[in-house]
Symmetry: C2
Subunit: 183 residues, 2 copies
């Protein structure tokens, strides 16, 4: 298994320790891993399958984040702040996920502060990825954003329905359908 967010950063013994603390579970497609309005306590690592965070804005369903094998997903607006989350976290396929509570992770770090460094490095990487996504919106048209996604995450295109991809890219489904036809 390849955990994009950890690979090349986190030493094997920490990966092992974290995995010992994680629970492996199977869920069917459409299962909610977390619901809007609740405080999110868990971080999910996708072993097999696909998940998204989304919420409703003016009745429209908007996908905020997509995670596939080896990627991490949680309600970022809640897990750290402990505020009620605006997001749902939903599986888009039958999936196998590992989960760990943020509290457990923090306890691990208290007991083994030598691991803090690696969490920092993972966060640095996540922050950089977020900065890149902001740039997408600053510099690229709807069509360019789609082309960039096709290039960087082709597996997403195959497996996620058009409506979710469109809202993830900040456009309507109709626009994405037309963009796709025009290429």
């Amino acid at each position: 298994m390849n955990f994009n967010h950890l690979d090349g950063i986190v030493p094997f013994d920490l990966v092992t320790k974290i995995f010992e603390l994680m629970e492996q579970r199977n869920f069917p497609k459409n299962q909610l891993l977390h619901e809007q309005g609740a405080v999110c306590k868990e971080i999910f690592l996708i072993q097999e399958g696909l998940a998204r965070t989304f919420f409703y804005k003016d009745g429209k369903d908007i996908t905020v984040h997509l995670a596939s094998e080896g990627e991490v997903i949680t309600a970022v607006d809640s897990i750290i702040s402990l505020k009620k989350s605006r997001y749902h976290v939903e599986l888009l396929e039958d999936s196998t996920v590992f989960s760990i509570s943020y509290k457990t992770l923090q306890e691990l770090l208290s007991q083994h502060p030598e691991y803090e460094k690696y969490v920092r490095l993972v966060l640095e990487r996540m922050y950089t990825e977020g900065a890149d996504r902001i740039e997408e919106f600053l510099f690229f048209s709807a069509k360019e954003r789609y082309e960039n996604l096709v290039r960087t995450r082709p597996q997403i295109i195959q497996r996620v329905n058009l409506g979710h991809i469109a809202s993830y890219l900040g456009m309507t489904q109709e626009t994405l359908s037309r963009i796709r036809k025009s290429i």
Copy 2:
């Protein structure tokens, strides 16, 4: 002085230690703190003044980030990865900034790993802020993005020229001028 990115998170002794390692310098308006194409080695903390990161896309000058008193600014696409940066970092006013090299900061953390936790907390906050900015683009129109900025960072509106604010919000200067008139 109020350092938004640190306040309420970082204990006083660490703030003190970091400040001991930082160099305080004054620069005039328009000074570049970092140039595109170079690897960025330093992180800047604005004590007094205003800075932005920006770059050229198809000849147009696009502002990626804005930082005022108490905020941190650097070339995020380079400082961690050590890749050549796409960004310039520029002062928009005569400013007093503290600077510390990323290397020095890492050395401090090696010697005092008990501080790693606080850097992690700062990064978590920065990551969350980034996630909020992505949401801005997913959920809000040009007009709403401007109104949100007026609400959350009114001092920016007063001090930064329209063109920079417009590109920071992902729109043209003409559009922002018209939005402003319509409110």
